[in-house]
């Protein structure tokens, strides 16, 4: 190691203004020159509301939950994979843990046994969170709507922002759905909850009807349960 001052390093690390000046031409104010400046005119400041800014950020960088249920998940994988490449739209980072995700794509049929699990996964996601329902199954139960075990749409369990119809929807359709979601997020819109979703509740809190009486010695009071009232389903 020599004791020479590291002049060379300073030089290389300094901003190389030569090329920039050449590109800009003469007589321009080099501090604030940018595309944005062109867009906003003479004032070097952008005025925006903080929440609008946040909405823009949210919509432009979405972390999706890696969540596969049924047939639609195959087309969902194709949407992430080569050729369709959802990442082009700032939404292609699948996270394995719900705690790191802000969007959940629900790709398939939800059955009674899976309902409580899906609710749990959704609850684990941090706010704000968004849901894309993929396929007819998440709209109404799809081809399995009349099944004894099938939940008649994802909205019976969690609120859904965007429905992508199809059985299965093509990858292009899912890309469109995600793009639409981004648009809504940027505009700060959120979906109204139209049906009262099934909740996870403590078994002890259920009204003591005949069914609950029957199960009383098999389920603990504190256990979380989901009660399906099939007769009330659409």
């Amino acid at each position: 190691m020599s004791n020479e001052p590291r002049q060379k390093t300073y030089e290389t690390a300094a901003p190389s203004t030569d090329t920039r000046d050449a590109r800009m031409g003469e007589g321009m104010d080099d501090r604030f020159n940018s595309k944005l400046r062109e867009a906003f005119g003479a004032s070097p400041f952008i005025l925006t509301k903080f929440d609008e800014f946040m909405n823009w950020v949210r919509g432009s960088s979405m972390f999706m939950l890696q969540f596969g249920i049924a047939c639609c998940s195959i087309e969902m994988i194709h949407t992430y994979a080569i050729k369709h490449d959802l990442d082009r739209f700032g939404a292609g980072v699948p996270r394995a843990s719900p705690r790191q995700a802000d969007v959940i794509i629900v790709p398939g049929t939800i059955v009674s046994k899976f309902g409580p699990r899906m609710k749990r996964v959704y609850d684990q996601m941090p706010e704000p969170k968004f849901v894309v329902g993929m396929g007819s199954c998440t709209i109404s139960g799809g081809p399995f709507q009349e099944g004894y075990n099938v939940v008649k749409g994802a909205e019976e369990i969690i609120p859904v922002d965007i429905h992508v119809p199809g059985c299965p929807p093509r990858p292009e359709a899912l890309v469109y759905g995600v793009a639409k979601l981004q648009e809504r997020i940027k505009n700060g819109e959120s979906s109204p909850v139209v049906v009262k979703p099934y909740e996870l509740e403590e078994f002890g809190d259920l009204p003591r009807d005949e069914l609950v009486q029957q199960l009383a010695d098999r389920i603990d009071e504190e256990d979380l349960v989901m009660r399906y009232n099939w007769a009330d389903s659409p």
Binding site: C71, I74, F114, R117, P143, L211
Partner: protein, 549 residues
């Protein structure tokens, strides 16, 4: 005692009658096989005799159903050496006390089957090691495929914590066991499977696959659809990784036998070609996800596999109009002829086939020649052939254990007998062999497709009959029963149907290869390390849509 019959030699009906003797209360023949009615307390005896004396070593399926006046369990037996030899053992039980002897001590695979029969139909099996619900939640009320079930009744489903099942009798001062839930939402389970594992350090002590998170009532749906048009869309959704046409063929074959329909040869060629395209797509997915499981390769191998799937899906879309849920087969043929201009279609398909050898080479370099991959797969997840047979394994899983069994050759259908191709087997019995089998099967499928294209190109234009003349409303005769299987992507996919004279089946039962293959997981994983459990699960290549139906 050995009679030399276990080698697959022909057993005549008379031999069977003598063997079963007066334990047979009655005969009840099915379209595919002779059927013997036996008493509910003689099931084990009869099945043991059929297995040991007559060589019926493959319990292909168990169908349970309820009639007005009785419950019935049907054991569909076959031989691994010759699956065209079949026999059905019919066990009726009383309505007020549906209890029948369990077959689980004779065939291990009966364990899961009988749990399913108990769960959905409500028959109880005496002497069963662990009779509890398998598909529906434990707290479910009623048995949905029984006649008096009320679908409107409310149900309560729990989200319970799981206890360590071996804790009470596993008190080791040196070590401690740990309970680990894998799934139902987990990237390595290929869908919504829940594996309850107990670990001692890193070693797996106990595994219990908990299924039913995708039980979407496929059998009920098929029972309420009409034969001619309404059932065909559902098979696409059993094994949904683009294997749709293979599944449709299972239904088509069973229904065509039931209603006695001849399929024109031209349609058979198209069926054979398109089904093998599906097999390639399905095996590609298996390969890509397996690479993802064992060495976390989301970049190269996974994306390459999906690139190739896109090509296959394009071809299939040209042919059927859909990328995944084809709904292309019809009873008696296929929906429409090849797309025009035919030359373009042939050219596109040939191009894909021509590229395939180079791609296969690439996969070999990337996957099977990869050192990490070999360390993870060679000699892990051992499945002995005898064990595989006990569990009713078929398809690449069985062939990776050296069981030379492929229905396309052994129980021929379609256009396969006219073509040149080989059944691939490997003797390694491990995760590595199962992958090798799939990779080689892709090449065999390519051979089949190539020959089919040759045949189709030569086919005279005025003789292109794509569908037989099938009545608009199909009502097979009452009380005809059939059980038929085809070689799907994952193995033997069988359908049992009973007609009752109407235009919908009275009972529709699906024999899923994945259901059987998955049941071996405990055998393969116990005593191995937890990462090997994940590799074994991946190498079984299950699709939950088909496991849970």
């Amino acid at each position: 005692m050995s009679t030399g019959l276990e080698n697959g030699l022909e057993v005549s009906e008379d031999d069977l009658e003598t063997l079963i003797g007066d334990r047979a209360l009655d005969r009840e023949d099915h379209v595919n096989a002779p059927g013997f009615v036996v008493r509910p307390d003689q099931v084990q005896e009869v099945l043991t005799d059929l297995r040991d004396e007559a060589g019926f070593d493959h319990l292909s399926c168990l169908t349970a159903q309820q009639y007005e006046n009785r419950y019935e369990s049907i054991y569909h037996l076959k031989k691994y050496a010759d699956p065209t030899q079949e026999v059905s053992v019919v066990v009726p039980t009383a309505v007020d006390e549906p209890v029948s002897q369990s077959a689980a001590p004779v065939f291990r695979t009966a364990d899961w089957h009988e749990r399913e029969a108990y769960d959905l139909v409500g028959i109880e099996y005496d002497d069963h090691p662990d009779l509890r619900r398998i598909l529906l939640p434990d707290t479910w009320q009623g048995h949905p495929l029984s006649l008096e079930y009320d679908q409107e009744q409310p149900q309560v489903v729990t989200l319970s914590e799981h206890e360590n099942p071996v804790q009470p009798d596993h008190h080791d001062t040196e070590s401690d066991t740990m309970f680990l839930n894998i799934g139902p939402h987990h990237p390595a389970t290929h869908g919504v499977l829940h594996v309850k594992a107990v670990l001692d350090g890193e070693t797996v002590v106990d595994v219990d696959p908990d299924i039913g998170y995708l039980h979407r009532c496929e059998e009920q749906m098929c029972q309420s659809g009409t034969y001619r048009h309404q059932i065909m869309p559902y098979p696409d959704r059993w094994d949904y990784v683009s294997a749709g046409l293979l599944n449709e063929w299972a239904y088509a074959r069973a229904a065509e036998d039931l209603a006695d329909i001849e399929v024109p040869e031209y349609a058979q060629v198209i069926r054979t070609m398109s089904a093998e395209l599906c097999r390639i797509a399905a095996h590609m997915l298996a390969l890509g996800t397996f690479a993802l499981d064992v060495f976390g390769d989301f970049t190269a191998v996974f994306q390459y596999a999906f690139r190739d799937r896109e090509v296959v899906q394009d071809i299939l879309e040209d042919l059927t109009g859909q990328r995944l849920m084809f709904n292309y087969f019809r009873l008696g043929g296929v929906a429409w002829d090849l797309p025009e201009p035919r030359e373009e279609f042939f050219e596109k398909t040939r191009e894909f086939l021509d590229d395939l050898p180079a791609k296969a080479e690439e996969y070999h370099n990337l996957i099977t020649a990869n050192e990490i991959f070999q360390v993870r797969c060679v000699d892990t997840g051992i499945l002995e052939p005898e064990v595989a047979k006990q569990y009713g394994c078929t398809g690449p899983v069985a062939r990776g254990s050296g069981v030379d069994y492929d229905l396309r050759r052994d129980d021929p259908y379609g256009y396969y007998p006219e073509l040149e191709w080989n059944v691939v087997t490997e003797d390694g019995m491990d995760n590595y062999s199962r992958v090798l089998v799939r990779m080689q099967e892709v090449k065999e499928s390519a051979k089949i497709i190539e020959q089919c294209i040759d045949v189709l190109e030569e086919w005279p234009e005025d003789d292109r009959e794509i569908q037989a003349n099938v009545p608009r409303t199909l009502k097979p005769d009452a009380d005809t029963e059939v059980y038929r299987a085809v070689e799907a992507a994952k193995g033997e996919l069988g359908i049992y149907m009973r007609a009752d004279g109407t235009d919908t089946p009275a009972r529709f039962k699906i024999r899923s290869p994945c259901f059987h293959n998955l049941s071996t997981l405990a055998e393969m994983a116990q005593g191995e390390y937890i990462p090997d459990l994940i590799a074994s699960l991946g190498s079984l290549d299950i699709v939950l849509g088909e496991v849970d139906r």
